[in-house]
C-alpha cells in the first residue's frame, strides 16, 4: 500500500530525529528493549500472536520487557525501505530475492544469510492454491483448468508483487512437469493463463479484495495461508479452496539485519526472536495462521488442515531466485514477452 510505504519512509526519516530529542531523556534502564520486524503483507496476524508469545518467553528468560514493532507492506517495498535506512532489526519477507537485495544493494547482511538459520532460513512455508466461488461453478481442479476459455483468473502483477511471482512460477513448474513438456511449452502455457487474467492488482491483498469484495473473476491464485484466512474471515459459505496437484514450495525467509542490530546492540534478542520461530511454540503459531510448519511433529498436528500436494522448490526447477528473476521478471524477460506478443 502506498500509504504504508509513506509511513515507513517517514518513520525512517523521523526515527533518528526522535532519537536525538529523546535520547538524553530516556532513563538508563536496559530492561526495555524494542525490536522492529519489517515484514510483508499477509503476516500481520501471524506476528501479532508470535510477538506476544516471544515477549513473554523473553521476559521469563531475561527479565527484559520487549516490545516488537511491526511494519507491513509489499515485500519489495519493505526491502527498499530497509536499504534506504529504516532500522529493521529483523526482516521477514516474502521471497529470498528481496532479502538478497539487502546484501547486494545495501551491504546490510552477508551473502550467506540463508545459511545462518535452518531450512533455508524459512521457518515456515506455504504454497500456492486456488480460491474459487462456493460450489466451484467453473469446475476448477488443477492448473490446466485455468486456461479454459471463459475462466476469469485473478492474480497480482508479478512485476510489483512477490506473491504474484510465486503464482507465476508455480504455474510454470506445473507446465514443465507435464509429460513431454519443454521450456517453450511452459511459456505457451503460462502465456495462455495470463490471457485469462483481466485484472493485475499491484499486490496480493489487492487481488484478494478484487476477487472477494468486487466479485470479479472465477478463480484467485493465492498464497495458501491467505486463502484460508479469506475463507475463515469472509465466510466459508462463499468461497472454496482448491489445491492443485502440483505447486511450488513457497519459502518466506527471515534474517537478522547485521548492520542494524550491531548499531542498536540488539543482536542477541533479534537472533533469539528468529530462532524462537523454529521452536515447537513458534511452529504452532505458524500452523495456527495457516503456514505449513517445518517441524515434523507440529506439522503432523496440522496435517488435516492442509490438502496433499506435490511440491517442488524454486532451487530445483529455476535454479534459485536470482536466476528466476532475471529470466522471467526482469525487463525484457519472459513475462514481458508474454504480453508483448499477445497484442
Amino acid at each position: 500500500m502506498p500509504a504504508l510505504s509513506r509511513t515507513t519512509a517517514a518513520r525512517a526519516l523521523l526515527a533518528p530525529l526522535f532519537g536525538l530529542l529523546l535520547g538524553p531523556l530516556a532513563p538508563a534502564q536496559a530492561a526495555d528493549v524494542t525490536l522492529l520486524n519489517v515484514s510483508y503483507d499477509p503476516t500481520r496476524e501471524l506476528y501479532q500472536d508470535f510477538n506476544a508469545a516471544f515477549a513473554k518467553h523473553w521476559q521469563a528468560k531475561t527479565g527484559d520487557r520487549l516490545t516488537v514493532r511491526q511494519s507491513h507492506g509489499g515485500s519489495g517495498k519493505q526491502a527498499r525501505s530497509v536499504i534506504d535506512g529504516l532500522e529493521a532489526d529483523v526482516v521477514t519477507l516474502a521471497l529470498a530475492y528481496d532479502v538478497d537485495a539487502l546484501h547486494q544493494r545495501g551491504g546490510l547482511i552477508p551473502a550467506d544469510w540463508q545459511k545462518r538459520l535452518p531450512a533455508n532460513a524459512a521457518p515456515y512455508t506455504s504454497t500456492i492454491v486456488f480460491l474459487v466461488r462456493k460450489g466451484n461453478p467453473k469446475g476448477i481442479h488443477d492448473w490446466n483448468d485455468l486456461l479454459r476459455a471463459g475462466v476469469d483468473v485473478i492474480t497480482p502483477n508479478p512485476k510489483t508483487s512477490g506473491g504474484a511471482r510465486w503464482n507465476y512460477l508455480a504455474a510454470w513448474g506445473y507446465a514443465l512437469g507435464q509429460p513431454g513438456a519443454s521450456e517453450q511449452a511452459a511459456e505457451e502455457f503460462v502465456g495462455k493463463l495470463y490471457q485469462n487474467v483481466k485484472v493485475l492488482d499491484s499486490g496480493a491483498r489487492g487481488s484478494l479484495t478484487t476477487f472477494t469484495e468486487r466479485g470479479i473473476g472465477d478463480v484467485l491464485i493465492s498464497w495458501e495461508n491467505e486463502a484460508y484466512l479469506a475463507t475463515r474471515e469472509l465466510g466459508p459459505d462463499k468461497f472454496e479452496i482448491v489445491t492443485p496437484s502440483v505447486s511450488i514450495l513457497a519459502e518466506p525467509p527471515v534474517a537478522v539485519v547485521d548492520k542494524v542490530v550491531d548499531k542498536r546492540k540488539t543482536r542477541e534478542v533479534a537472533t533469539a526472536y528468529l530462532e524462537y520461530l523454529y521452536t515447537p511454540e513458534g511452529q504452532d503459531i505458524a500452523g495456527k495462521h495457516f503456514y505449513r510448519p517445518r517441524d515434523e511433529q507440529v506439522a503432523a498436528k496440522y496435517q488435516s488442515q492442509f490438502s496433499k500436494v506435490e511440491l517442488f522448490t524454486i532451487d530445483e526447477v529455476f535454479g534459485g531466485w536470482q536466476k528466476a528473476q532475471t529470466t522471467h521478471f526482469a525487463d525484457g524477460g519472459v513475462f514481458d514477452r508474454i504480453f508483448a506478443t499477445r497484442r
Binding site: 519489495g76 479484495t209 468486487r214 525487463d331
Partner: protein
C-alpha cells in the same frame, strides 16, 4: 516596476539614488524564495536527473521507449488531458452555479467540491472501484449496456476527472465572483444576445482562470497513483499508468530506470504546463488583464 519608473524619470546630472520599491524586504524575500524553491523543489528534482545519468544515453533510451513504458505514457498523458478538458467544461458550469444562483444547500455543495482534495487518494480509489465494479452501484447499471469502467482505461479516466474537479471550480470561482455585472448589463442594454454576452464579455475574462485550473488538474492527474491504481486493472500495454511503471522499476531495485521514466514525465509535464501558461498569458494580454 522600479526599472520602468527610473527610465521615465528625467535623470539630471546628479546621481539619482536607486529607486526602491515601496514595499520593503524585496531582496530578503526574493532570496528566501529562491532558497526555498531550491531546497524544496530543485534539489530533489536534480537528484532525479543525476540518478538518471547513471544509465547513459542508450540505457536511458531503452528504458523510456520500451513498448510497455510507451503505452503507459500514452495512457497517463492521454487520460490526464481528456480529464482536464472534461473538468474545464463541468468545473466551469459548477462554478457558475455556485456563484450566480442562490438555492438551498448551496453551502453544502460548495463544501463538497473540496472533498477530492481532502480524501486520501487510496480511499478515493477504493471507493471508485467499489462503485464502478461490475457488482457496484453504478457498475451494475452499466454492465448490461456492455460498458465496463473499473479495471479499464475508462476507470482511470473516471479517477482523473474525480481528483481534478476542484482545481477548475476553485480557480474559476473567485474570478467569476469579481466579474462586474454592470459589464453584462451594459452589453445587454446595447442589444447583445445572451450568447453574445457570454462569448464576448464573460468568457474572455474567465479564460485565464479556466486554463490555470486545467493546468493544475492535468498536472495532478499525470502523476496520480493512489486513486488510480485500484481501478486501473494494471494489464500491461492496456491499463498500466506511468507511475506504476516507476514502481515496477523500483521493485526490481532499478533506481536509475525508475528515475528515467520520472524524468521523461517531468519534462513532458513541464512542457505542457509551460504551453498552457503561455496560452494563459496570451489570452490575458488580449483581454487587457494582468496575467
Amino acid at each position: 516596476m522600479s526599472q520602468s519608473t527610473s527610465l521615465t524619470l528625467p535623470s539630471a546630472s546628479h546621481v539619482v539614488p536607486r529607486q526602491r520599491s515601496v514595499l520593503p524586504g524585496f531582496r530578503l524575500s526574493l532570496g528566501f524564495t529562491l532558497f526555498w524553491l531550491g531546497l524544496i523543489v530543485l534539489i530533489p528534482l536534480s537528484a532525479v536527473a543525476f540518478k538518471t545519468l547513471e544509465l547513459g544515453w542508450p540505457g536511458f533510451w531503452s528504458a523510456v521507449t520500451s513498448p510497455r513504458v510507451l503505452a503507459s505514457f500514452r495512457l497517463s498523458f492521454g487520460v490526464a488531458l481528456i480529464a482536464a478538458a472534461i473538468n474545464a467544461v463541468f468545473g466551469l458550469v459548477f462554478a457558475w452555479v455556485l456563484v450566480r444562483y442562490t438555492f438551498p444547500g448551496k453551502r453544502l455543495l460548495d463544501a463538497l467540491v473540496d472533498l477530492p482534495f481532502a480524501l486520501p487518494t487510496a480511499v478515493a480509489g477504493i471507493a471508485l472501484t467499489a462503485i464502478y465494479a461490475e457488482n457496484g452501484w453504478i457498475g451494475s447499471l452499466l454492465a448490461p449496456l456492455g460498458i465496463k469502467v473499473a479495471f479499464t482505461p475508462l476507470g482511470v479516466l473516471v479517477a482523473a476527472v474525480f481528483i481534478g474537479l476542484p482545481f477548475v471550480v476553485r480557480t474559476v470561482q473567485p474570478v467569476l465572483e469579481d466579474l462586474d455585472r454592470e459589464l453584462e448589463e451594459a452589453a445587454a442594454s446595447l442589444g447583445a444576445s445572451r450568447w453574445q454576452i457570454f462569448v464576448r464579455v464573460v468568457w474572455p475574462v474567465l479564460t485565464p482562470a479556466v486554463l490555470t485550473g486545467v493546468a493544475l488538474a492535468f498536472a495532478r492527474a499525470v502523476g496520480e497513483y493512489g486513486s488510480m491504481i485500484f481501478i486501473a486493472g494494471n494489464v500491461p500495454m492496456v491499463s498500466e499508468i506511468a507511475p506504476l511503471m516507476i514502481i515496477t522499476k523500483l521493485e526490481q531495485y532499478d533506481y536509475a530506470g525508475a528515475t528515467a521514466i520520472a524524468l521523461v514525465m517531468l519534462l513532458a509535464s513541464f512542457a505542457i504546463l509551460l504551453a498552457i501558461n503561455s496560452l494563459q498569458a496570451w489570452t490575458a494580454r488580449r483581454t487587457g488583464r494582468p496575467a
